[in-house]
């Protein structure tokens, strides 16, 4: 029976594709008891707008006993609390029925750590900002009062500044000190070493100056340096946390439950990770296989599109091996687990992902390269300045003062802000276009792309068949004729009980209506029901018994026979995503090579490649073959962008120089890619354009920071820097790189 929800499934604004509903079991293990209430944390996918928010929260709140249902639209996390006997599975099922993806949130200490780090950076930033504003208030009076202000007043104001700066330096500065110390202990220097040195040296000289009643104190510079740097750190941490949250989808998938059969034949729900090789497993229709299994009982159609990329289900019978990730479509299957979860195809792909991530993290970002030049440069300059002034006969405090001024004014602020601000602005712009970026440094890799490999099903095509036409005894029928409509309604009354993609396409065209009672689904054949003494059949040509010549028509089709009346043929097409041709032409014009590598049948791939004018294509490619193809391309020094949605693409996605996944992609593929886009392929030229622009802006920013240093360093080394000059220089350089990054907002 198909439950019809009163509203259309999925995001009402169409920002995210509908997630196919499946049966939700095994959530009971994630329920916590809070006082006399139960609570569960869920991850909801596909919720993008206010309509989603109210739809989901209201439907869950309407369940009996629910006291709180709150969805975080930014992170997709949902917390539900309830009292009474409500089953957690029912909550998950409710969300799934609305057309959203849902998974139980596994205990994830990594995410909690990252959230805590982000929060502590934000608080540190606030504290530094508060102190910077207040010390500046005092400093401005000192600068403005030069010549008029009495020495005692100035010394008081300096002392007051110092009193504010010290706790801030210890509190907000601890992020830099800790990281610098860790780096030094491991025998190398990072960006935080000169920062820590500048902070403590500048603070030290300022205290010394204040005590001896000197004119210059750098407390404002110390705190402002902290403030600007923490802005950059915070933005960076937030991007990284968002990326991490998306990567957890894989873990969430593996926490799903499996129905294990005991020796007595009872079905018990156990966590997927507890399944051992040899266990007997029941796979109900609508359920996704969690482990590889050999079927020993039952015949059913199985949707393997996520595993192999093949668009139509295959029939499985006893003796055949079913891979994890496949979805059972028609009848219950009983099978023997071949491997434990760790050895299943799913986990192997997970391992492929990890290997890919490692390779990718070895990528040297522009920022890293800038820092590796910057750190030794600053240290040497400051040390030489100190030494030079000592040799020229300056006192040690004066020489140290100049070294501190050099460290402050060479200002890593611009450097620390240059990349994160540009990335955040660009990510924000893409987000408004429905592109969700998973890592900040992806921009640099995306900007280098010269070759794109596409998956077919679900990436270039919609991945869901659509009813294209009807044929009755060789005659084409118009879909809107009364005769065709009546036949379609009859066929749909059978099709409503089935999960088969073609049945669903038929129902989608026929619209809502009642499902017929007593319909039998025969795997590999079709649906059968007896109506008014007649046998109605909807299914494959062979089973219905039609003419072979007619059945050989291109593309997938279903046949419908009512009793002895001639059978009608429903023809389906898997339409190309809207906007694909334009997007591909734009990419070609940019000199990017295009290629299709698909797991689908050669014929289907060839015909699509012909339609789209793509000369390079490979069909019937296994996940390993896709990975191998990407490795070949990499060895030929291509920078490859992989675009794919299925489980079979995940390995290739993680291996590619950069990768994208459509919003309808399976969780694993989304977490393996650098960005997830919604809508059609026209997002790809946009992403590449923004990425190139972001890289250009980042380079400009580093060039600006370098140019600034060329001017600032001689002033500092010759001892002409006053706290006023340092404050102006520091703010100016930070503001310039930030404004430059803001240019990314402008749409051309």
């Amino acid at each position: 029976m198909t439950a019809l929800t009163p509203t259309a499934p999925g995001c009402p604004s169409g920002l995210s594709p509908v997630t196919a509903r499946d049966t939700k079991t095994g959530y009971a293990g994630f329920v916590r008891d809070v006082g006399d209430e139960h609570a569960i944390d869920l991850v909801v996918r596909g919720a993008k707008c206010g309509g989603c928010l109210s739809k989901i929260e209201k439907s869950v709140s309407a369940l009996p006993g629910v006291t709180q249902a709150r969805l975080n639209l930014s992170s997709g996390q949902m917390r539900v609390r309830w009292t009474g006997p409500l089953a957690a599975d029912r909550i998950a099922q409710t969300i799934s029925d609305l057309g959203y993806g849902v998974a139980a949130q596994a205990a994830d200490t990594g995410a909690a750590d990252k959230a805590r780090e982000e929060r502590s950076l934000l608080i540190s930033m606030g504290v530094a900002g508060f102190a910077a504003a207040n010390i500046m208030l005092l400093s401005v009076s000192v600068w403005a009062g030069t010549g008029e202000m009495g020495e005692a007043t100035r010394q008081t104001l300096h002392a007051l500044s110092g009193v504010i700066a010290l706790p801030v330096l210890l509190f907000s500065g601890r992020h830099f000190f800790r990281s610098a110390w860790a780096a030094l202990r491991n025998g190398h220097a990072n960006m935080d070493v000169p920062i820590s040195l500048a902070l403590s040296l500048a603070f030290g000289v300022s205290v010394f100056e204040t005590l001896r009643g000197g004119e210059h104190a750098y407390f404002d510079a110390v705190v402002m340096l902290c403030f600007f740097l923490l802005i950059g750190r915070f933005l960076d941490a937030r991007l990284r946390r968002q990326a991490h949250a998306a990567a957890n989808a894989l873990a969430a998938m593996q926490t799903s439950a499996v129905t294990r059969l005991t020796d007595k034949g009872d079905a018990v729900s156990v966590a997927a990770r507890d399944v051992a090789a040899g266990d007997r497993i029941l796979l109900a229709p609508g359920e996704r296989a969690m482990v590889d299994m050999r079927i020993f009982d039952g015949v059913s159609d199985v949707d393997e599109s996520l595993v192999t990329g093949e668009s139509l289900p295959r029939t499985f019978s006893p003796g055949m091996t079913l891979h994890a990730g496949a979805i059972n479509v028609s009848a219950p299957l009983r099978g023997e687990a071949l491997k434990v979860v760790e050895e299943s195809l799913l986990s192997q792909i997970g391992e492929m992902l990890e290997a890919g991530e490692q390779r990718r993290s070895a990528y040297r970002r522009i920022a890293d390269r800038a820092v590796s030049i910057y750190v030794p440069f600053v240290h040497t300059t400051a040390a030489l300045a100190c030494l030079g002034w000592l040799l020229l006969g300056a006192s040690l405090p004066d020489a140290l003062m100049i070294a501190a001024a050099t460290l402050i004014i060479t200002c890593p602020c611009a450097l620390a802000l240059a990349a994160p601000v540009a990335q955040v602005v660009a990510a924000g712009r893409l987000f408004r276009k429905g592109v969700y970026l998973r890592s900040g440094d992806a921009f640099e890799r995306l900007a280098e792309i010269d070759h794109i490999v596409f998956d077919k099903t679900g990436t270039l095509t919609l991945g869901t068949p659509k009813l294209e036409g009807m044929v009755l005894t060789g005659q084409s029928l118009a879909l809107d004729s009364p005769e065709a409509k009546a036949m379609l309604a009859d066929a749909a009354s059978l099709a409503r009980v089935s999960h088969h993609p073609l049945s669903r396409a038929l129902v989608a065209t026929a619209g809502s209506g009642a499902a017929r009672e007593g319909v039998r689904e025969i795997a590999g054949c079709g649906l059968e029901a007896s109506v008014d003494g007649q046998t109605w059949r909807l299914g494959s040509a062979n089973w219905i018994g039609t003419d072979k010549a007619l059945a050989a028509a291109s593309g997938p089709s279903l046949w419908f026979a009512r009793g002895d009346a001639p059978a009608v043929q429903f023809r389906f097409v898997d339409n190309v995503q809207p906007g694909t041709a334009d997007a591909l032409n734009t990419l070609r014009a940019q000199g990017i090579d295009l290629e299709i590598v698909s797991g689908d049948q050669n014929g289907a791939v060839a015909s699509l490649a012909g339609t789209l004018g793509i000369a390079d294509w490979t069909g019937e490619a296994s996940p390993q073959a896709k990975v191998a193809r990407l490795e070949t391309l990499r060895d030929q020094n291509h920078r490859v962008l992989m675009v794919g949605d299925g489980l079979n693409d995940a390995g290739a996605l993680s291996l590619a120089h950069a990768s994208l996944a459509p919003g309808a992609a399976i969780d694993i593929s989304q977490s393996a890619s650098d960005a997830v886009y919604s809508g059609g392929l026209d997002a790809i030229p946009l992403i590449l354009r923004v990425a190139r622009k972001t890289r250009a802006i980042m380079r400009q920013n580093f060039a600006l920071a370098a140019a600034y240093n060329v001017i600032a360093v001689p002033i500092a080394v010759t001892g002409h820097v006053t706290p006023l000059v340092a404050a102006i220089a520091m703010s100016l350089s930070s503001i310039i790189v930030t404004l430059n990054a803001m240019r990314l907002q402008i749409e051309e």
Binding site: T7, G50, S54, N72, L73, S75, L122, I123, F130, T153
Partner: protein, 50 residues
């Protein structure tokens, strides 16, 4: 000029008040969801659940 003896502590006090409010708003999770609340305010609670 003795007025600054009062004014500076007042300025610092006001600043601290603002800082306190900022830290409180972070701790109470007001920055956790940057998009949802904007929609939530548009949502009337009087219609039946969808």
């Amino acid at each position: 000029m003795t007025i600054i003896v009062y004014l500076i502590p007042v300025a610092l006090g006001l600043g601290l008040l603002g800082l306190g409010a900022f830290i409180w708003s972070i701790r109470s999770g007001q920055f956790d969801d940057m998009q949802g609340p904007a929609y939530r305010i548009l949502d009337d609670d009087d219609d039946t659940p969808a």
